[in-house]
């Protein structure tokens, strides 16, 4: 394939997913400028390795996997939060957070009804990376567990447990946010 044709082929297959790639980058980095750079880096890497892409498979999931790797490498280079170093501790943290008092008794179905999009984003951003990415991939990007397992390079069982913890954490973060908002309103 000529280099021009190769690039066109790549743009047709991969660039259509730019919105999703940018969005995942935004949720991982939590920063617009960094997300744009990460998206660009993802595409350049993907282009370099385009011959390794199997056209029969899901291009978006392939891009997500590259993006995640690029992100983790950046984090390591900058000495920032890297997941998986002490997963046991993260899981304990999650369990404590999620099983704290109040989970069962309050009727937060009502509470959650008025949640706004911005609050969902804010709540999600409070989650540690491995739970945040599981929830975003499953519930926002609507990836299958198998895709998530491939993207994150973990077994299906791990996807399942991270996701269920992640959702519990998200619920608690949302409850906290909503209560804070309600508390403020009462004060006014």
């Amino acid at each position: 394939m000529g280099s021009q044709a190769r690039r066109e082929e790549f743009e047709d297959q991969a660039l259509v997913h730019l919105d999703r790639v940018f969005h995942l980058a935004l949720r991982l980095t939590r920063n617009r400028t960094e997300a744009e750079d990460l998206a660009q880096e993802t595409y350049l890497r993907a282009f370099k390795h385009f011959d390794q892409f199997d056209p029969g498979t899901n291009c978006r999931a392939w891009l997500f996997a590259i993006l995640r790797n690029a992100f983790l490498n950046q984090q390591k280079r900058q000495g920032r939060e890297v997941p998986g170093l002490d997963e046991g501790e993260l899981e304990r943290f999650a369990t404590e957070m999620a099983d704290g008092p109040g989970t069962l008794e309050s009727p937060e179905e009502e509470l959650l009804k008025g949640v706004a999009g911005a609050e969902l984003v804010a709540a999600l951003e409070r989650l540690p990376l491995i739970f945040r990415e599981a929830v975003v991939l499953a519930d926002v990007e609507e990836c299958s567990y198998k895709e998530i397992a491939q993207i994150c390079g973990v077994p299906m069982g791990t996807v399942m447990s991270r996701l269920s913890r992640g959702r519990r954490l998200l619920r608690r973060a949302l409850e906290t946010l909503v209560r804070e908002r309600e508390g403020l309103r009462r004060l006014r």
């Binding site: 190769r6 940018f22 900058q78 969902l120 929830v135 519930d139 567990y145 959702r167």
Partner: protein, 266 residues
């Protein structure tokens, strides 16, 4: 299936990710267990909430064009494995390990977080194929581009007498603040000049610097030379793998340029 088993796979059941036999067992349990029905409904509500209300932001319009441009350059440019546009010092991973191992020995001279973050930014951008948002060798054009984008006046110095030419500029950030980032190059070395409001930042100072020039803090971090100083309300940082002398010369140029623009006492 017990309640506990069901709760463990509730989400997967909801996502349709259980195999057939488990899924049937789950349904069977749900048919008679009110507590689990309730938990299932809660789980479903949260999932629906996220799926319907989470804002799925699209990419900014300019990003697609920027990436197309970078891809075109990558396709035209050097093949895989060939040298990149800018030299990047070898093995950053190894450098990090060295820092970790040497921490006990080097604690006294360990650079502050701000310095490390600036060096990390420089390293990251020297690896990107098209890091500048405005590509121009014109000082006026680059300075003008920043107007309205940052809340301070950006001085764009001329380093051409030292053979260092302006590549362009971009926005970056540091902790919570905006940074005006100017990119220069000499041969295959990237020279990064960062300018940002200094208020509230723990910045190193050049006080007591060996070698005499107390205006500037200098350090070598991960193989890169760093020069930092504060002048008026702004802090400036130069990062490059050029030698320290060249970088100090640049710093002096910026110092004089900024000094000439800031009214005394301001």
């Amino acid at each position: 299936m017990t309640c506990q088993e069901l709760r463990a796979c509730l989400g997967a059941h909801l996502d349709g990710e259980l195999d057939l036999s488990l899924s049937l067992a789950a349904d069977e349990h749900l048919a008679f267990c009110v507590g689990c029905q309730w938990a299932y409904a809660r789980e479903r509500e949260l999932r629906t909430l996220v799926r319907t209300r989470f804002p799925r932001e699209g990419a900014p319009a300019a990003l697609g064009e920027r990436i197309r441009g970078a891809l075109a350059r990558a396709a035209r440019g050097p093949r895989i494995g060939a040298p990149r546009r800018w030299f990047y010092w070898a093995a950053p991973a190894a450098a990090l390990v060295l820092i970790a191992v040497g921490v006990g020995l080097w604690q006294r001279s360990a650079p502050p977080p701000v310095v490390r973050e600036l060096v990390a930014k420089h390293a990251m951008y020297s690896r990107l194929d098209a890091p500048a948002e405005i590509v121009s060798a014109s000082q006026e054009a680059v300075a003008g581009w920043f107007k309205g984008k940052v809340r301070f006046d950006v001085a764009v110095p001329d380093f051409s007498p030292s053979g260092i030419r302006l590549v362009g500029g971009r926005l970056a950030d540091l902790s919570d603040r905006q940074v005006a980032y100017l990119l220069y190059e000499k041969g295959r070395n990237l020279v990064s000049l960062f300018a940002f409001p200094s208020r509230g930042l723990a910045l190193p100072s050049g006080e007591g610097a060996s070698g005499g020039d107390e205006r500037f803090y200098v350090a070598k971090v991960n193989g890169a030379e760093v020069v930092i100083w504060t002048q008026g309300p702004l802090a400036y940082a130069l990062v490059s793998s050029l030698d320290r002398e060249s970088l100090l010369e640049c710093a002096d140029t910026v110092w004089r340029l900024v000094g000439s623009r800031t009214p005394p006492g301001a």
